[in-house]
C-alpha cells in the first residue's frame, strides 16, 4: 500500500533548495514481516517533508531520493540525514517506484530512477531494479527501446585498438568518452547519487548488446546491456509500448541482415538449380552439318539437312552458320524447318557478315562470321531443314560477284537460351539484393550517430 503524499502546502522551515548536512534526522524502523519470513523493507519519514518512505534494498542502499519532495537523503547511518534538500513537483514515472514485473523469468521491483543527459542533450532514463535473490539490474531507455543491463564482475579484455571482448564476444566502439550528469533522481540507490553529479561514459556495441564503461569519482564500472524486445517491458510492467522513431539504436540488430542472408541462400540454391536444369535439359546434341557453296553475287542457293529426329514432346533446336572465309561480304540465311508428316513449318532467318577497312582512326573490322538461330518448343517429329542462302560482296564501293564463299550450316537438337538464364538469375537475386541494400542502409543509419562512424567493418 503506497503511503499518502504529504500536504503540498506543508511549511518548509529550512528554506527551499538549500543544501547542507545540518538539520533534522529521522530514525528507521523495520517493517514487520508475517510468519517466520524475514522482513523485506525498512520505513522512515522523510526528514525534509515528512513523507513515509520504504527502503526495499536495506543493507545495500546508501542514498534515497524522497519520492515526494525529491530531497536526497543519506541512509548509511541508523538516522536518516538530508544531503540535498528539494521542494519540487515530483514527476510521474513511466515505471513507478515499487512496481514489479517479470523480465526473462525473474521478478524485479523498480526501486530507483535517474534522468541523465549530456548537459541537457541526449537525455535518457535509467531505472534501478532489485530482487534480493538476484541483486540489481539497470533498465534504460531513451525512448527508442529498453535495455536491461547488469554490472560485470569481470574486467572486459581490450581487443585491438578500440574494441573489447566479453565472454568471447567482440564489441566495437560506438560512443567515445563523454561527460554526462544526473538531472533528476528518485528512489533508492546502492551508491551515492546526487543531482548534478558527473560521470564519464563510453559505449561499445555488437548486435543486440551494449557494453558500457562508466567512471565517476568513486569508481569505474562496466555494464553489459541486452536490448529487450519492444513488447517485453510493456508486458512485464503493464506500460505503453515506446513510440520510438528516429535513428536505430547503437546496438539494434539489423532486421534485414538475417533475412537477406536467408534470401541470399535461397537465391543461391535457386540459381544453382536453374544452372543445373540448363545443363541437363538445355544442352545440345551432336550437330548435323552441311556446306553450301555460294557465289557472292546475290543468287540464292539452297541446301537441305535431314532427316532430323526430334524425340522429346517439345524441344529447342539450334541452327548455326559459319562462313570463315568471307570478307567485306554478307550472307543472308533463311531457315525452314519442315515436319515431314504434318507439313508444319518453322521459319527463322539470320545473317553472317564481315567487313574490314582502313580510315583516319586506323584499321577497323565489323560484323561476325558466325551466327546462330534458335527454334524453341518444337514438337516431336521427323524434320528437314532447308537453308536458303544468298551471298553479296561489296568491294571498292560496288557490288562484286567474283569470289565464291562457303557457309557451313549445322543443326543441333537442344539450345541454351543464355539470355533467359541470365534473366532468371536476376529475378532470383533481386529480392535478396534489395534486402541486402536495406540492411546496408540500416547499418549506415545506425552508425551515423557513432563517434567512430566511417569505420565500415562489417561484423560477422
Amino acid at each position: 500500500m503506497p503511503p499518502e503524499p504529504p500536504d503540498s502546502d506543508r511549511p518548509n522551515p529550512w528554506g527551499a533548495g538549500e543544501s547542507g548536512a545540518a538539520g533534522p534526522t529521522s530514525p528507521r524502523t523495520v517493517v514487520t514481516a508475517e510468519g517466520d519470513k524475514a522482513a523485506a523493507a525498512e520505513q522512515f519519514n522523510c526528514p525534509n517533508c515528512g513523507g513515509s518512505i520504504e527502503i526495499k534494498a536495506a543493507g545495500y542502499t546508501v542514498t534515497v531520493a524522497c519520492q515526494y519532495c525529491g530531497s536526497t537523503l543519506d541512509v548509511t547511518d541508523p538516522d536518516v540525514r538530508i544531503i540535498q534538500r528539494y521542494e519540487e513537483e515530483v514527476r510521474k514515472l513511466d515505471l513507478p517506484l515499487g512496481s514489479r514485473g517479470k523480465l526473462r523469468g525473474i521478478e524485479w521491483e523498480v526501486i530507483g530512477y535517474m534522468r541523465r543527459s549530456e548537459n541537457g542533450t541526449y537525455p535518457w532514463d535509467e531505472y534501478l531494479l532489485f530482487n534480493p535473490y538476484y541483486g540489481y539490474r539497470f533498465l534504460d531507455t531513451d525512448g527508442r527501446g529498453w535495455t536491461l543491463g547488469r554490472q560485470l564482475t569481470e574486467m572486459p579484455a581490450k581487443n585491438g585498438l578500440l574494441g573489447f571482448t566479453v565472454d568471447g564476444e567482440f564489441y566495437e566502439p560506438f560512443y567515445a568518452q563523454t561527460r554526462n550528469q544526473v538531472d533528476f533522481v528518485l528512489g533508492e540507490f546502492y551508491w551515492q547519487v546526487q543531482v548534478g553529479e558527473e560521470a564519464l561514459t563510453a559505449d561499445y556495441v555488437r548486435p543486440g548488446k551494449m557494453l558500457s564503461w562508466e567512471s565517476s569519482k568513486h569508481e569505474t564500472e562496466w555494464t553489459l546491456g541486452e536490448l529487450l524486445e519492444p513488447n517485453e517491458v510493456p508486458d512485464a510492467f503493464g506500460v505503453e509500448p515506446l513510440t520510438g522513431g528516429g535513428l536505430p539504436l547503437p546496438h539494434q540488430p539489423s532486421p534485414y541482415k538475417k533475412q537477406s542472408g536467408q534470401m541470399m541462400k535461397i537465391a543461391g540454391l535457386a540459381a544453382a538449380a536453374i544452372i543445373l536444369f540448363a545443363i541437363m535439359f538445355g544442352g545440345t546434341s551432336d550437330p548435323e552439318t552441311t556446306r553450301v557453296n555460294l557465289a557472292t553475287n546475290g543468287v540464292e542457293q539452297s541446301a537441305k539437312i535431314g532427316p532430323i529426329e526430334l524425340t522429346r514432346p517439345r524441344q529447342a533446336v539450334t541452327v548455326s552458320a559459319r562462313a570463315p572465309g568471307i570478307d567485306n561480304a554478307w550472307i543472308d540465311l533463311a531457315y525452314t524447318l519442315t515436319d515431314r508428316d504434318t507439313g508444319d513449318v518453322y521459319e527463322a532467318s539470320n545473317v553472317v557478315e564481315h567487313y574490314s577497312g582502313y580510315d583516319a582512326e586506323g584499321n577497323w573490322t565489323e560484323g561476325s562470321r558466325s551466327s546462330s538461330s534458335k527454334f524453341s518448343m518444337v514438337p516431336a517429329g521427323t524434320y528437314d531443314l532447308t537453308v536458303d542462302a544468298a551471298g553479296s560482296q561489296w568491294l571498292e564501293g560496288q557490288y562484286a560477284a567474283t569470289r565464291n564463299a562457303v557457309v557451313e550450316v549445322s543443326i543441333a537438337r537442344g539450345a541454351t537460351f543464355y539470355s533467359n538464364i541470365i534473366l532468371a538469375l536476376i529475378v532470383v537475386f533481386v529480392p535478396a539484393i534489395w534486402v541486402w541494400i536495406r540492411h546496408l542502409s540500416f547499418e549506415s543509419r545506425r552508425k551515423s550517430d557513432s563517434d567512430f562512424a566511417g569505420d565500415d567493418d562489417d561484423d560477422d
Binding site: 523485506a40 548509511t76 534480493p132 569481470e154 551508491w191
Partner: protein
C-alpha cells in the same frame, strides 16, 4: 568436533565448530568471545546487526568447487559510501572461505599464503602501501586490476569467526578483478598479520544454495527450489 560452551558474559550457549575458528559472537549479549586454550574470554562486543535483506543467513549451505559448505558467521563492514557482508563458510573438510557480498554481487575467496601471490603490488599493500583503482598486477601468471581500495570499519558481526572482531575495528581492503572473473583481496588490519585471499566471482545459483533466507513478498528463486 563441535564444542558447546557458555558465554563468559551472559552464560548463553556458544558453539565452537573448529579449532581454526577461535572466536564467536554471543547471539544474546553480542559479546565477542575468544577461546584461549581451555578458557573463554570476553574480548569486547559488537553492535546489533543493522537490518538488511541479504538472501544469505547463518545455516545457508551450498557447494563451491565440488565441496559442501555451511555459512556459520559474518562480519559486516562499512565505509562512508556503503557497506558489505563477509560471510564465513565452513567447508566439509573444516577449512573455511569467505563469501563476500557487495551490491548484490558475490565472490568466494579463500586465504592463501601471502608469499604465494608473487606480486610486488600485493606485497606492497600488505607491507602498508596504498593501492589505487586501476593498478595492474600479475598473480599466478594472470592479470589482475585493483577494483577498489578503501579503509572500512567493522559495523557488526555474528556467529563464529577466525578472529575476534569488535565493532569499530578497522581494516584496509583492496579488491582485485580479472578478465576471467577471478578475484583477489588483500586485507591489512590493526594488530593482525595481513591477509591475502583468492577466488572468483560467483552467482548464487551456481552455489546451489539451500536454506536461503526467506524474505517477505519475494518468491523463492528457482535455483534454490
Amino acid at each position: 568436533m563441535a564444542k558447546s560452551e557458555n558465554c563468559p558474559n551472559c552464560g548463553a550457549e556458544v558453539v565452537f565448530r573448529s579449532s581454526g575458528l577461535p572466536a564467536v559472537i554471543c547471539d544474546y549479549c553480542h559479546s565477542t568471545v575468544k577461546r584461549i586454550g581451555e578458557a573463554l574470554e570476553k574480548i569486547g562486543e559488537v553492535a546489533a546487526l543493522p537490518f538488511d535483506v541479504s538472501p544469505i543467513q547463518r545455516g545457508t549451505t551450498g557447494k563451491y568447487d565440488g565441496r559442501n559448505f555451511e555459512v556459520i558467521g559474518r562480519i559486516r563492514l562499512g565505509y562512508e559510501q556503503g557497506s558489505w557482508n563477509d560471510w564465513l563458510c565452513l567447508f566439509s573438510d573444516m577449512t573455511h572461505g569467505w563469501l563476500s557480498e557487495s551490491d548484490g554481487q558475490f565472490q568466494m575467496v579463500i586465504e592463501q599464503p601471502l608469499e604465494s601471490s608473487h606480486s610486488d603490488l600485493v606485497q606492497r599493500i600488505a607491507a602498508g602501501g596504498d593501492a589505487v583503482p586501476g593498478d595492474r598486477t600479475e598473480i599466478d601468471g594472470q592479470p589482475y586490476f585493483v577494483a577498489d581500495a578503501r579503509w572500512a570499519r567493522c559495523i557488526s558481526a555474528e556467529g563464529e569467526l577466525p578472529f575476534a572482531a569488535t565493532t569499530g575495528w578497522s581494516v584496509y581492503n583492496v579488491d582485485f578483478r580479472n578478465p576471467a572473473g577471478l578475484s583477489a583481496n588483500v586485507e591489512r588490519e590493526e594488530g593482525e598479520p595481513p591477509g591475502f585471499y583468492m577466488g572468483r566471482y560467483v552467482s548464487l545459483a551456481e552455489l546451489e544454495p539451500r536454506y536461503l533466507r526467506e524474505i517477505q513478498g519475494w518468491a523463492r528463486p528457482e535455483y534454490a527450489a
